[in-house]
Symmetry: C2
């Protein structure tokens, strides 16, 4: 294993990235992964996702992920399977090589919130069934119907919110372009 030691003491095992304090980057990766894990994401999936997030290219091979996170190829494989399933990462076959690259999905947050939305849809359906079982006129039935209504409301609102985000981003980029032209 070729390895050079930086003045700071951090091993230069993140070749291909802009010069940076790899120890600090690693702390950041672990911190964000912990945040995600606390929110219910599998630990390894969270770490792999965070590692991709801090890579300049936005894409890494299995070997690179294994090296940077100090985990086995099997763990990488499991994490990638999960991240692909939820469309947070896409797998690319590098032409002229037998090595896959895993790339952050273009609109990760858009996709992730959309998934959330689908989950809320399932909850709403569960609630509507529950309201039938409890009887629509009973106190419990009323409570559950209101819950279902709330879930329905959220489903209507979320896509609109994402649309506003897109619009805001488009506007910002346009402004930056004008800025660049003027300067």
């Amino acid at each position: 294993m070729r390895e050079t030691i930086e003045p700071g003491g951090a091993p230069d095992d993140a070749r291909g990235e802009a010069a940076r304090d790899e120890a600090a980057v690693s702390r950041f990766v672990e911190r964000f992964a912990a945040d995600l894990a606390e929110a219910g994401m599998q630990r390894m999936a969270a770490r792999v996702f965070a590692a991709l997030l801090v890579s300049d290219s936005g894409a890494l091979s299995s070997a690179e992920l294994a090296e940077r996170l100090r985990i086995s190829p099997a763990a990488v494989s499991g994490a990638i399977r999960y991240l692909s399933q939820v469309d947070m990462v896409v797998r690319e076959r590098e032409p002229g090589s037998r090595r896959d690259r895993y790339r952050l999905y273009n609109e990760v947050w858009y996709e992730t919130l959309t998934r959330r939305d689908q989950m809320v849809a399932r909850w709403e359906s569960t609630m509507r069934d529950g309201a039938k079982v409890l009887g629509p006129g009973t106190p419990a039935g009323l409570r559950i119907t209101e819950t279902a209504d709330f879930f329905e409301f959220v489903q209507r609102e979320l896509p609109k919110m994402l649309e506003r985000w897109r619009a805001q981003q488009a506007e910002r980029r346009a402004a930056e372009a004008r800025e660049a032209e003027a300067g």
Copy 2:
């Protein structure tokens, strides 16, 4: 243990509720609890929460919860501790009795989404720190800054959305009141 058997075969161990098919109610409780558990909630907390949701009074004692869910008082205690911490349930000391009652928090979903919002705030803070580490001009730094911006956007939007829900509910209730008066 006093127990009567209904024609349907379901034990009548949910005294105090409107007449209903307790077996079907139980299936609903378990289904919704499973939905919540899949979204990352502790299993027992999810079951206790679902059990409260289907109660007509919206409040149950520890003994009632233990009986309906067939779990130990210890398990109830643990679930309640969690649900109180996240403000989904409030504990009431019944005056003139030594028995607590656990009541659904008035605006459970409002509270729950507000919590979510706080989590997003932490994520944003993590991202801003990360951007500094990576260097604001690098590709990774830019990606992370955009992520932070998105989290910031979500934090601005969520309270507005909840406000719209409240307004819609108020309007609906007003309409129902007019309806009742006219009818």
